[in-house]
Amino acid sequence: MEVITWLLESSLAGILVRGLAYGTPLLWGSLGEIYAERAGVVNLGVEGMMILGAFSGFATAHVTGNPVAGLCAAGLIGALAALLHAFFSITLRANQYVSGLALSMFGLGLSGLLGRGWEGIPLERPLPEVTILAPLGFALAVVLWVVLYHTRWGIILRTTGEAPAAADALGINVILVRYVAVVFGGLLAGIAGGFLSVAYRPSWTEGMTSGIGWIVVALAIFASWDPLKAIWTSLLFGVLFHLSFRLQTWIPAEPLQMMPFAFTIIVLTATARRSGRVRQAAPEALGLPYVRGER
């Protein structure tokens, strides 16, 4: 623990550590989104899944007194919320963008409704900010990268997102793979939200995700759907978020709070300019519902 206090005192390393704290939910969230999108399903419901995770995580941690139980609940609720998106966008073949949007609205609404009596309560035993979920997130990114590029499961996942008809012809259950990927994405998004309310803030405020769920969606693109790249992209945005707090001593808060959102647009533009490489990296069937027998 002394190492961490020392890191916080030295300025550049301190910024990095703080960036790591804010980057952690971005990392967990974008890893989940990368997997869902690799299977061909965009989930714009990250904001909703995160906020539901944040609330259920906080409530569970507060009631049980166990922050790890809180994180588990957050992941479970995130996964359940993702199941909703999966059902509408995969089974009912509804427009994925609009379904995700509906999930975000619903999540913000439901958490605001149920969480009303829980605001302003501090959590007695919060989780440490950077020592648990950040390294776990790095490890998870590596594991997910290995699974994606070097295992049979990874091939199945990528084929489902690139060429669902071919995957189907090979005997892969496209619908099942997509369900699993989306629900897994929701699990990670829920944990990301739980991190906010159990470790980062240790408290619950309505709407506390304040737009980072949308940035997570952008980060999946920025990382070219590569779990390893997600590490440094989320760290970069984590530092950016931290700076937007730190610099408030000298600069008014609002233009600084604007910064991550403006930077997202800049980053996406810059990525798109890289000679169309991103277009190749994007899963071919991203956003398209799969209907057997239709090309």
């Binding site: 509804a94 963008y97 609205m105 409704l113 609002e254 233009p255 959102f261 997202t264 647009i265 996406l268």
Partner: protein, 382 residues
Amino acid sequence: MRQLGPLRFEHDPESSLTRTMFVSALAIAAAFLVAGLIFWAYGVNPLRAYRVILVDTLADPRALPEIFVPAIPLLLAGIGLLLAFRAQFYNIGAEGQLLAGTIAATWIAVFTSTPGPLMLPMMFITGFLAGALWGLLPSLLKLRLNVNEVITTLMMNYIALYAVSWLVTGPWKGPSVRGFAYTDTFPDSAWLPYLPGTRIHWPTLLLGIALAILVAFLLNRTRFGFEIRVQGHSPEAARYAGINPLRTTLLVMLISGGFAGLAGVGEVAGIHHKLLDPSQVSLGYGYVAIIAAWLARGNPLAVIVTAVFFGLIYSSGDVMQVSLQMPARVTDVFNGLILFFLIGSERLLHYRVRWMPAATNQTVPATLPEEQAASGRERWKS
């Protein structure tokens, strides 16, 4: 063709008006049902909640006009969004475009010495331009570099949100308001008139209805509208037909953003008469307008009805806050559920349902046409 109990589903790609309305009503009913379950879990008797909605909004002559207050911005922003969706451009940025309109209108009202009779027209014109400008960057990025417009328009919302809250806490904070985070009140010439006894700023309402008719004409009777429709059905077909997607999308987005900007002008000139915290200027109108546009199923005139419907949802949220002490977020629960059920029921639009019990079923000859492959149109809709 599918058999489900005594019901038979026959494929029929062209949906009729009655079927569209029936399916939409079914979706909304289902959303209310699930919302009732959530209220019940929250500890509010759902029947009591429904009764509060019906009695305190629709049956109360003083509360009834309040439905139209949120309906006005929803109508204006909704028509613009509908146009964008028809051209396959997913503009999620109406909220930011609306706020951009409020900034422009406030600038005209507070910081320029525009003569009285010109004041309101100038506010609407600059509001339109500001909204259009706010939608311009995402559309250019989409067209030139294929950057996903959903994300960029969303990011622009947050940028507009923080821009407004920066203006009202910093440079534009009114000298006469003593510490509150809003601008000075607009001069009288920048106030929109109300229908007597209500908060309905009727010039904006009329503008919305006129624009709905205009867009309906544009879509159905002009070459530009034809181009939008072709592009919406199949971008490839549009390209082969020599339609310039750049021009079409850009124009559509300028109109779409501009209309949202007009909605913003209506809010500051009609309701608040000053610029204040963004969460008070727009109660998420830009997002709810997406649902209103979606519910209208591509018909601009239908937005008039759907905007009023979501106005009712907003009023319901208000009365539920007052009568049942529920938080403001309750409207988001409704909106999210309605949107879910709307898109979830979309496939039903392409099926004709017939009552056909198993007994009569056998008499049907086996030569009925098989279920057709989904057309291109169905694909973009689903």
